[in-house]
Amino acid sequence: MAANEFQQHALSVADSQQANAAFAERRAIAAERFAATAWPGRKTEAWKYTSLRSLQELTEASFAEQAKAIELPEAVKAVDSYRLVFVDGVFQADLSGDLPEFACRFSEANAEQKAFINEKLGTVVATQTESARNLFSYLNDAWLHDGVLLHLPRGASLNKPLYLVYVSTSEAANATLAHQRLLVWLEDNSQANVIEHYLSESVASNDDDVSSLTNGITEIHVGQNAQLHHTRLNLEDEAHTHIGGVHLALSRDSVAKCFALGEGGRLKRIDYQISHNGPGAELIMHGAYLARNKQLIDYHTCIEHREPHCNSLEVIRGIVGDKAKAVFNGRIHIHQDAQKTLAELHNRNLLTSNGAEVDTKPELEIYADDVKCAHGATVSQLDETALYYLQSRGIEAAEARMLLSYGFVNEVLSQLPYQPLLESLQVRLRARFIDEARKSAAEKLIGESA
């Protein structure tokens, strides 16, 4: 049985939960698997650079009873969308809009949708692979009580994005656990945009605060010739922990564009598991992670090419400052039948402070010979000559640093197709980088005078 304290607590929370009876069996199996999985340590490859120690602060945490009333950011409201808002894991009806006929919450599903959820849920999550990697997918199933379904029939096209907003408000003294589950099923020739936006309201009052854990798992099936645009913003702040993932299965000739942004957070660990299951499928993924203070952000992406003539392009940038740490693991696996694959992965990192750490591991595993694959990873600092150039044109040092950091991520950021969100993120990041640049300038001054 589970030897880890948090593991035990998570199971007892599941036990005492008033759950939807339809999920009882699924929950029981998952709880068993979760309990049977050895708690990851430094020698567990999937968690080599990411410690789960801070979860021990959550052994008193519980699910929130009801949704607090909050104010949504203007940028969120400005996106023309089908919006659903959850606060501390609880549905907040007042802030949510109407849903299209293709979507529902699990708890409000009609008979047909119920049958569909029952049939498809869990079919995309890669539970057959190594168990340590799926630990939090098991947990998600063990805690399963509600979720959101988007099921587009053949040839249908969603006229505006489905926008899921998840807000954490809890504080360390009253820590919460939150469960999120999203199932997106695009039948052949259909088309949809989906946004998942995680944010927080409370801020840590001291460094060691751990106020919440959100476990958000998304499953997406993209049917033949279907088109998906998926965005996942993980912008929770200091005291909040997020461990979850996006599982994506691509059918023949389908196209998926993904955008991922991780900023802040006590601990963020997001796993992307993407599988090309039909010939001619294409994936384009852009992402960025920005960590500072004592934050830890960990993105794992794994792209499985199982069929010929598929493409994937992955561009991930990271900026890490202060005493923060970023982990990136990008795996591309070309199976034997996946001839004529074109796969590329680019990971670039900027380290802006000496206490910061980046661990990156771009992996290629290739079993087909007629393929073109390339990956590149770099770690560097802000380019001194570029800084000098900007300064020589009269730009203040801090401003110059900000511009360079900002430029570094903006290439990726500009891929976000939602103007209000993009603009608010650009403002937010400028402010963040100028703050960081001032701080590092101050540090330097102190260093020189010492």
């Binding site: 771009p362 010979d369 990956h375 590149g376 770099t378 770690v379 600092q381």
Partner: protein, 478 residues
């Protein structure tokens, strides 16, 4: 085209003969008594025995590593004999004339004449047959320059203070499972000491040969380059063709003191097993060097042999401005598996490392690059450049890249690039249209692919390496 290419890569192993030499071989199995026996057979001092026993006790508590991308049946460490010595060596020969002619002939067959008058000019050779150093050439000439080049068993007796100071200082006994095993039972290997400011007047070379059945080979090499000295060292290996797998677990330690330069080159051609994947050497090797201030260590390896290779020649860049280099070609064919790469640990300021790794996979083989670049917080201004390229020949082989990049210093710059491609039909067509046959075309393209690494090898080995690749790609046109 790929079928045609594939038929080209059937390989014949040229060094697969077995020599009929009588030997004394310890019965299979490992316990403290075996360790004591080996130590006694080598007439070792007490401290050495204690050192070995400490390693043995640590090994007993350790587990075989399983993280590498290789698969092989579990090794029964009890069925291996840990010591074998040619009978005629019992009374050590005092000179070449006393060496068993059959032994000398074995080396002649391998193309390594040990008679000094015939030997490669400018290369001193230490020949290790099964577990024992057979002969070391040009010792006198080296001595004039103050260079010590001798079997490590002899060094333990003759230069105990040097050995005691440096043995295990880079690869400690408990470093890993195979290093611990080696520390307990290593039988021989080479020892090199280059005094302060001396440029070693000739290339040094060790040639390893496994001959006996069911013996493990555990050699230990220790090279100490004192301040400001230079040395270039070559290592070659072959083994007879046998249906059983044989274990080779060597340890190599390099110490480059301030301003010293060590260049270590390997052409590894252990028996790779037959076309069905039967037999072949398990090559589980720990190689590591430590570079002090302004020192440099360069590893170059051409790996074409062994059934399973598990090997990561590494550099600890301890001193400021120290430099580490790793140039590697790994060719796997048939059922061979290789998991190889390097670790560059940057500790000192302005440390630099370069990694160029070329993997060629053919047949049903699997080749993985696994590398670690770690920049510690104090390594201001550290730089690394890594390039890993894989070439695939045929659609049943695998090529993998697992680079670990860990950076904890903001002033570091790390670049990593990797590509995977195949010998393209267009390249083959161009060569053939210009009148080259398919075999020559593949060998030319593969050699071109490896060029950056071959140019790092000393002349004698570069020729050998090129030929080795050609042999590995030899066969009839389908």
């Amino acid at each position: 085209m790929s079928e045609q290419v594939e038929s080209l890569i059937r390989q014949d192993y040229a060094a697969g003969f077995h020599s009929a030499i009588e030997s004394d071989t310890l019965p299979p199995g490992l316990d403290e008594d075996v360790v004591r026996f080996i130590s006694a057979a080598k007439e070792e001092p007490e401290w050495m025995l204690e050192w070995r026993l400490k390693a043995y006790r640590a090994w007993k508590e350790m587990d075989e590593p399983t993280w590498a991308h290789v698969h092989y049946p579990e090794i029964d460490f009890k069925s291996i004999s840990y010591y074998s010595t040619p009978k005629s060596m019992k009374d050590r020969p005092k000179s070449l004339d006393e060496v068993d002619p059959e032994l000398l002939e074995t080396y002649e067959k391998l193309g390594i004449p040990l008679h000094e008058q015939e030997a490669l000019a400018g290369v001193a050779v230490d020949a290790v047959f099964d577990s024992v150093s057979v002969v070391t050439t040009f010792r006198e000439k080296l001595k004039e320059a103050g260079v010590i080049f001798c079997p490590i068993s002899e060094a333990i007796r003759e230069y105990p203070e040097l050995v005691q100071k440096y043995l295990g200082s880079v690869v400690p006994q408990k470093d890993n499972f195979y290093a611990a095993l080696n520390s307990a039972v290593f039988s021989d290997g080479s020892f090199v000491y280059i005094p302060k400011g001396v440029r070693c007047p000739m290339e040094l070379s060790t040639y390893f040969r496994i001959n006996e059945l069911n013996t493990g080979q555990f050699e230990r090499t220790l090279i100490v380059a004192d301040e400001g000295s230079h040395v270039s060292y070559l290592e070659g290996c072959t083994a007879p063709m046998r249906d059983e797998n044989q274990l080779h677990a060597a340890v190599v330690e390099l110490v480059a003191l301030d301003g010293a330069r060590i260049k270590y080159s390997t052409v590894q051609n252990w028996y790779p097993g037959d076309k069905e994947g039967k037999g072949g050497i398990y090559n589980f090797v720990t190689k590591r060097g430590i570079a002090h201030d302004n020192a440099s260590i360069s590893w170059t390896q051409v790996e074409t042999g062994s059934a399973v290779t598990w090997k990561y020649p590494s550099c600890i860049l301890k001193g400021d401005n120290s430099v580490g280099e790793f140039y590697s070609v790994a060719l796997t064919n048939n059922f061979q598996q290789a998991d190889t790469g390097t670790k560059m640990i940057h500790l000192g300021k302005n440390t630099r490392s370069t990694i160029i790794a070329k993997g060629i996979s053919a047949g049903r083989s699997d080749s993985a690059y696994r590398g670690l670049v770690r920049i510690n917080p104090a390594a201001e201004g550290a730089r690394n450049f890594t390039q890993c390229d894989s070439l695939l020949i045929g659609d049943r082989c695998g090529a993998h890249t697992f680079p670990y990049i860990e950076n904890r210093n903001a002033s570091a710059v790390i670049e990593h690039e990797a590509t995977t491609s195949k010998v393209s039909d267009d390249q083959m067509f161009l060569c053939q249209q210009r009148g080259l046959d398919a075999e020559k075309a593949v060998s030319m393209i593969v050699n071109g692919f490896c060029r950056e690494v071959f140019k790092e090898l000393p002349m004698e080995f570069a020729v050998e390496a090129g030929k080795l690749l050609e042999v590995s790609l030899e066969g009839s046109v389908g």
